[in-house]
C-alpha cells in the first residue's frame, strides 16, 4: 500500500474523496479511474450515500420485532399491521437544498421520500414534516418559512397525498442551516411488497419516469466547462420538482405492480443512476451493463459523467421479468412517461457502462459497495449540565401562560397546515393540531394509522442520551394519546460536523438514547436517514434526531382527541409531577435561560402510564386525552381548552406553582371523563400502576387556576393563533 502511495499522482480534483480513499480506489480498480469512474466512487463514498461516519453507531439500533417485515437497508421500513396489510414508511432530510432554494428544496424533498415509499409497492397515504428554522428575527427566516411551506404544499397537494402532521421549531442555531425532514407513510398488502435486489441473468434494466437533465451534478468544479456554452451562467445545483409527473409515476408504478412483471425496483434518489444501479446489483450479487445512449435525455450533448451523476427527479429503475417489456411499456406510455430498456443484468459482478458504442466505465460492484469507508470518528461525551439554580419568575402565572402559548415555538401551526391538503383521499380522521395524525386504513372497516414526528433539540443539546430517549418517547406518547398502539419508528439524524469530537459525541449519545427507548418500548427502528455537516462557520445546529413514529388504532371509532368535550367533566392528570424546569420552554422563553439538565425519561414509567391511558381510551372510559409536553401541565390544559372553546377550573398539585405548572416532567397525560365516572377511572389507573390525581372540572369560558388567577379561552386563542400569521405578515 505504501509503495502504491509513493507512486501515486493524485488528480487535481479528488471530487471530495480523501487521499486515503483515493488510494483505496486505486487498489480496487487496479488502475487509475477515469472521470466517470472517479465520479461514481465519489458519490458512492460520500457521507450521504455511504453513511461512513454514522454506520458504526446506527448498527447498534434495535430493528427487530415480530411485526417488522423489513428493517433498515431497503428504500423504506415495512411493518405488519394485521389483516394482510403493511405500513411502509421513512423520513428523509432535504436540508441543504431547502436553504439554497426553499420552495424547490422542500418540494423535491417531499418527492424523494414519496418515491422511497411507493417503490416498495405502497400507496402513499400520509405525509408529515419536521421543520427547524433560525430565530424569527433573523432576516432570512420569514422567507425560508414561506418558501418551505409553499414547497411542501405545492408538491404534496398536487400528488394527492394528504400532509397530516409535523412539527416546527425556531432557534438561532438553525440560522444558517435550516432542517427540512419529510416523512411518507404508505400502505401495501404484505404479499405485494417490492424490493430492490436485482436478480436473473440477462434480465432487462428499465428506466422510467422523467428524462435526465443536468440537474444537481456536484462535480461543477471539474466539469463545469463542459456543462454549458454560456460560461457566465453557472449551472444551478438545485433541482426543480415536477409533482405532476410524480403523480403519474405513482399511478403507473402501482399499476405495473399489479401485474406479475417486476423482479426489483428502486427509485433514483441521491446520486441518481449511479446509486440506484449499484445498490440493485450489489444487493442481488449481480453485474449490470448499461447503455447510456439509451437513457432518455432532456438536453443534448450530455456526457456519461452527467448521465451517471444527474439527480433529475421523478425517475425509477426497474428490473423486469424477461419478455414483459411490452406490457410494462404500455402502462408507462398510457401515463405519458418515458420508458427505456437501458441495459441488462450480468453475472460478472461488474458495472460496465457504454456510450456511443464505447466502453466508458468498468467497475467492480461489491468491492466498491462493501469497501466503502467506515470511520470510527473520535468523540467525546457531552458533559452533564450543571443543576438548575434558583429561578426568578418575572411574570405572574397566568400572564406567563398567555405569553407562552403565543411564543414562536408554542404558537399554533395552523397558518402552515392550512396550506397543506390534509384531507385528500377522504380518510383523514384526525387533522393537524392534535397529538397524532390519524388516517384510516383505506377500505378497512375499523383500522387506522396514527403518526407523529417529534424531537426536542434543546434537550438533545443539554443531554444527547436523555434527548434521544425523549424524542422516541414523545412520538410513542403522542400515538398513545389518540388511543393507538405505537409499532415502530423512522429516524432522521440531523447533526453538525462529525469530524468534531463534541458533535460526534452528540451523535453517539443520541443513538444511545434512541436505542434504550426503542428497546424499552418495543418500538424498533425500521428506516432512517442521517444528515451531517449542518454547520456554518464552525457553529453546528442543535443536535436534532427527529423521530417519526407509526402506530395502529384498531377501531377508529374509539379514537381520542384532545379537545374538552363537555362542561362539568373531571380532569385527571396521569403521571408523576416533580416540577422539572431545566431546559423547559418556560425557562427559555419567559425567564430567558437555556439551562439545567433536561427532564429525565424513565422508560418503565413511560410504558406503564402510556399502556394504562391507552387501555382507558380503548375501553371508551375517557372523553379526551392529551400528553403533556412542551410548556408542561399548564400549556397542555390550555391546548385542551383552546381546541374546544370550553374552559376549566383546576387546582395544581402541591408545590411551587411555576415549577408544577410549567415543568416538563415526562410520561404524563391529561384525560377527562364524566364526573360520575372519575372514581372508576382513577381506580383503573391506580390498578395499572399509573399515578393519578384529579385537578378539577371543565366548564366556563376561562381557564382558572385556584389561587393563581384566570385567563379567558378567547385570550389564549388569540395569542396562540395570532403569532404565526402576524409574524408571516411582517407585523412582528
Amino acid at each position: 500500500m505504501s509503495d502504491v502511495k509513493k507512486a501515486v499522482q493524485y488528480p487535481a480534483d479528488l471530487m471530495g474523496l480523501t487521499r486515503d480513499e483515493y488510494d483505496l480506489v486505486l487498489q480496487i480498480m487496479g488502475r487509475e479511474p477515469n472521470q466517470v469512474e472517479l465520479g461514481i466512487f465519489s458519490v458512492m463514498w460520500s457521507e450521504h450515500c455511504s453513511y461512513k461516519s454514522s454506520k458504526k453507531w446506527l448498527k447498534t439500533l434495535p430493528t427487530k420485532a415480530p411485526w417488522v417485515i423489513q428493517g433498515p437497508g431497503e428504500n423504506a421500513g415495512v411493518i405488519d399491521i394485521g389483516d394482510g396489510l403493511a405500513a411502509i414508511f421513512k423520513m428523509e432530510s432535504h436540508n441543504h437544498p431547502s436553504f439554497i432554494e426553499p420552495y424547490q428544496g422542500a418540494a423535491t424533498g417531499v418527492g424523494g421520500i414519496l418515491r422511497d415509499v411507493f417503490t416498495m409497492g405502497a400507496r402513499p397515504v400520509a405525509n408529515l414534516n419536521a421543520l427547524r428554522f433560525g430565530a424569527p428575527d433573523h432576516p432570512k427566516t420569514r422567507h425560508l418559512v414561506s418558501g418551505v411551506v409553499h414547497g411542501i404544499g405545492g408538491y404534496g397537494n398536487c400528488v394527492g397525498v394528504p400532509t397530516v402532521g409535523g412539527e416546527v421549531n425556531f432557534h438561532p442555531s438553525y440560522n444558517g442551516n435550516i432542517l427540512v425532514n419529510a416523512m411518507t407513510v404508505g400502505l401495501a398488502k404484505t404479499d405485494k411488497i417490492f424490493y430492490s435486489a436485482a436478480a436473473g441473468l440477462g434480465n432487462p434494466v428499465v428506466y422510467v419516469g422523467s428524462k435526465t437533465g443536468r440537474d444537481g451534478i456536484h462535480g461543477a468544479s471539474m466539469a463545469s466547462a463542459e456543462f454549458t456554452d454560456d460560461s457566465e451562467e453557472k449551472r444551478p445545483t438545485v433541482q426543480v420538482g415536477d409533482p405532476f409527473t410524480e403523480k403519474l409515476l405513482i399511478e403507473a408504478c402501482l399499476e405495473l405492480m399489479d401485474t406479475d412483471t417486476i423482479v426489483a425496483i428502486q427509485d433514483m434518489g441521491a446520486a441518481g443512476l449511479t446509486s440506484s444501479s449499484f445498490e440493485m446489483a450489489s444487493k442481488g450479487g449481480m453485474g449490470i451493463e448499461i447503455d447510456l445512449d439509451k437513457v432518455p435525455a432532456r438536453e443534448t450533448g450530455m456526457t456519461p459523467y452527467e448521465f451517471m451523476l444527474s439527480e433529475s427527479q421523478e425517475r425509477m429503475l426497474i428490473i423486469l421479468k424477461p419478455g414483459s417489456e411490452p406490457q410494462a411499456e404500455a402502462i408507462f406510455r398510457k401515463w405519458e412517461l418515458d420508458f427505456a430498456v437501458i441495459g441488462h443484468l450480468t453475472d460478472t459482478g461488474r458495472m460496465v457502462l457504454r456510450f456511443n458504442g464505447e466502453q466508458v466505465g468498468d467497475l467492480p460492484i461489491d468491492p466498491l459497495a462493501q469497501a466503502s469507508p467506515e470511520y470510527d470518528r473520535p468523540w467525546v461525551k457531552t458533559p452533564p449540565q450543571k443543576p438548575l439554580g434558583r429561578v426568578n419568575h418575572p411574570l405572574p402565572f397566568v400572564e406567563a401562560l398567555g405569553k407562552l402559548v403565543g411564543s414562536p415555538d408554542m404558537a399554533s401551526r395552523r397558518w402552515i397546515w392550512e396550506q397543506y391538503d390534509y384531507l385528500v383521499r377522504g380518510d383523514t380522521a384526525q387533522v393537524p393540531g392534535g397529538d397524532a395524525a390519524v388516517v384510516r386504513v383505506e377500505d378497512h372497516p375499523k383500522k387506522a394509522l396514527a403518526m407523529s414526528v417529534d424531537c426536542t433539540p434543546r434537550y438533545c443539546f443539554a443531554d444527547p442520551v436523555e434527548g434521544g430517549k425523549q424524542a422516541v418517547a414523545e412520538t410513542w406518547r403522542n400515538i398513545t394519546a389518540v388511543g393507538a398502539r405505537p409499532l415502530a419508528i423512522t429516524d432522521n439524524m440531523n447533526f453538525g460536523n462529525p469530524e468534531r469530537p463534541e458533535i460526534m459525541g452528540q451523535f453517539v449519545g443520541a443513538v444511545d438514547g434512541i436505542r434504550e427507548a426503542c428497546l424499552a418500548l418495543d418500538y424498533p427502528v425500521v428506516s432512517g436517514n442521517v444528515s451531517l455537516y449542518n454547520e456554518t462557520n464552525g457553529k453546528g445546529i442543535l443536535p436534532t434526531p427527529a423521530i417519526g413514529g407509526v402506530g395502529v388504532l384498531d377501531d377508529v371509532a374509539r379514537m381520542a382527541t384532545l379537545a374538552f368535550k363537555l362542561p362539568g367533566e373531571a380532569i385527571l392528570l396521569v403521571g408523576q409531577t416533580n416540577g422539572h424546569l431545566g431546559q423547559s420552554v418556560y425557562l427559555r422563553d419567559i425567564c430567558g435561560q437555556e439551562a439545567g439538565p433536561p427532564p429525565p425519561v424513565d422508560l418503565k414509567v413511560e410504558r406503564t402510564n402510556g399502556d394504562a391511558v391507552r387501555l382507558l381510551i380503548t375501553e371508551g372510559m375517557v372523553s379526551a386525552a392529551h400528553d403533556c409536553a412542551d410548556g408542561g401541565l399548564a400549556v397542555a390544559l390550555a391546548e385542551m381548552a383552546m381546541a374546544s372553546g370550553i374552559g376549566a377550573a383546576v387546582t395544581l398539585p402541591a408545590g411551587d406553582a411555576f415549577e408544577i405548572g410549567f415543568g416538563e416532567d415526562q410520561a404524563r397525560y391529561l384525560v377527562t371523563c364524566p364526573a360520575a365516572r372519575a372514581e372508576a377511572v382513577i381506580a383503573a389507573l391506580e390498578a395499572a400502576g399509573a399515578p393519578v390525581q384529579k385537578l378539577g372540572l371543565t366548564g366556563g369560558d376561562a381557564l382558572t387556576f385556584a389561587g393563581l388567577g384566570a385567563i379567558s379561552v378567547q385570550a389564549l386563542r388569540s395569542a396562540h393563533e395570532g403569532w404565526l400569521p402576524r409574524y408571516m405578515a411582517g407585523e412582528l
Binding site: N157, G160, D421, R425
Partner: protein
C-alpha cells in the same frame, strides 16, 4: 343512478368522490372513465369531474384537461341534459371547457387553503340541492389554490337573476359578507349552475363531508339529492 367518474392525468380526489357516490347508490360504484377515451357508456345520467391537479395545474388550472378527448363527449351529453357535477379542479375544467361561465383564478391571498368552510345554500331548485333548505348553512371543506371565481358584471348579474348561484361562502349563521369571503370570489360565490341547472360547478368538497369519522355529514345532502333526482 348511473354515474360516470372521469379521471384526468393528475386527478386526485376521484377516490373520495367514488366513495361518496357509492354510498348513495346502494353500494354501486360509478363507472370509471379515462380522459383519453372518446366515448361514454350509454345510459349515463350523471357525469362527474373530480378534484385534483389535472396536468399539474400548469398553464391555467383545468386548461389542458378541458381539451381532453373525453370532454367533447361530456359537452355533447351535457347539452342533451345529462347532469354534470364538477368539483374543485372539475369546476375549473368545466369553466375552461365552456360548460359554465367565468373562470377561477388564484385565491386573493395567493395561498392554498385547506379548511372547513360554511356555505349558504342559495337555491334548492335543482337536482343537486333539493334535500337542503334554502338559506341553510352547511359545513364542508375546501382545498384549493385557485378558487377565486371571476366573471364580468353582466355574467354575474345573469347568474343572480336566473337563480344560478348555488353556494356562497358565509359564516355559521349564513351571513354572507366580505369577512366570510374565503378567496376573493366575486359575490362570495362558491358554486354556480348553468342556465338549465343541469351542470353544477363548485370549489368546496362535499364528497369529503360524507362520513361521520372523516369530515362529518353535511355533504350528504348533495349526494342524496342527486341520487333521489336520478332514481
Amino acid at each position: 343512478m348511473k354515474a360516470a367518474l372521469i379521471t384526468f392525468p393528475g386527478s386526485n380526489r376521484e377516490r373520495d368522490m367514488r366513495m361518496a357516490l357509492t354510498k348513495v347508490n346502494n353500494g354501486k360504484p360509478p363507472v370509471d372513465v379515462w380522459h383519453g377515451d372518446s366515448g361514454l357508456p350509454e345510459g349515463i345520467d350523471l357525469i362527474v369531474l373530480p378534484g385534483g391537479f389535472s396536468y399539474g395545474d400548469y398553464l391555467r388550472c383545468g386548461a389542458m384537461a378541458a381539451h381532453s378527448p373525453i370532454m367533447r363527449e361530456v359537452k355533447k351529453r351535457a347539452e342533451a341534459g345529462v347532469r354534470v357535477l364538477a368539483v374543485c379542479n372539475g369546476f375549473q375544467i368545466a369553466c375552461e371547457a365552456g360548460l359554465l361561465p367565468g373562470v377561477l383564478i388564484s385565491n386573493a391571498g395567493l395561498k392554498f387553503i385547506c379548511k372547513d368552510v360554511n356555505l349558504r345554500v342559495e337555491t334548492t331548485a335543482s337536482a343537486f340541492t333539493k334535500k337542503y333548505r334554502k338559506g341553510q348553512t352547511i359545513r364542508v371543506p375546501v382545498a384549493h389554490h385557485d378558487g377565486n371565481y371571476t366573471a364580468d358584471a353582466d355574467t354575474v348579474k345573469r347568474l343572480e337573476d336566473n337563480d344560478q348561484i348555488a353556494f356562497r361562502y358565509a359564516d355559521p349563521l349564513g351571513t354572507v359578507s366580505p369577512e366570510t369571503n374565503l378567496n376573493g370570489s366575486v359575490g362570495n360565490i362558491a358554486g354556480i349552475y348553468n342556465a338549465k341547472k343541469t351542470v353544477l360547478g363548485l370549489m368546496p368538497h362535499p364528497e369529503d363531508a360524507t362520513d361521520p369519522v372523516c369530515g362529518g355529514l353535511d355533504g350528504m345532502g348533495l349526494f342524496e339529492s342527486i341520487a333521489e333526482s336520478l332514481s
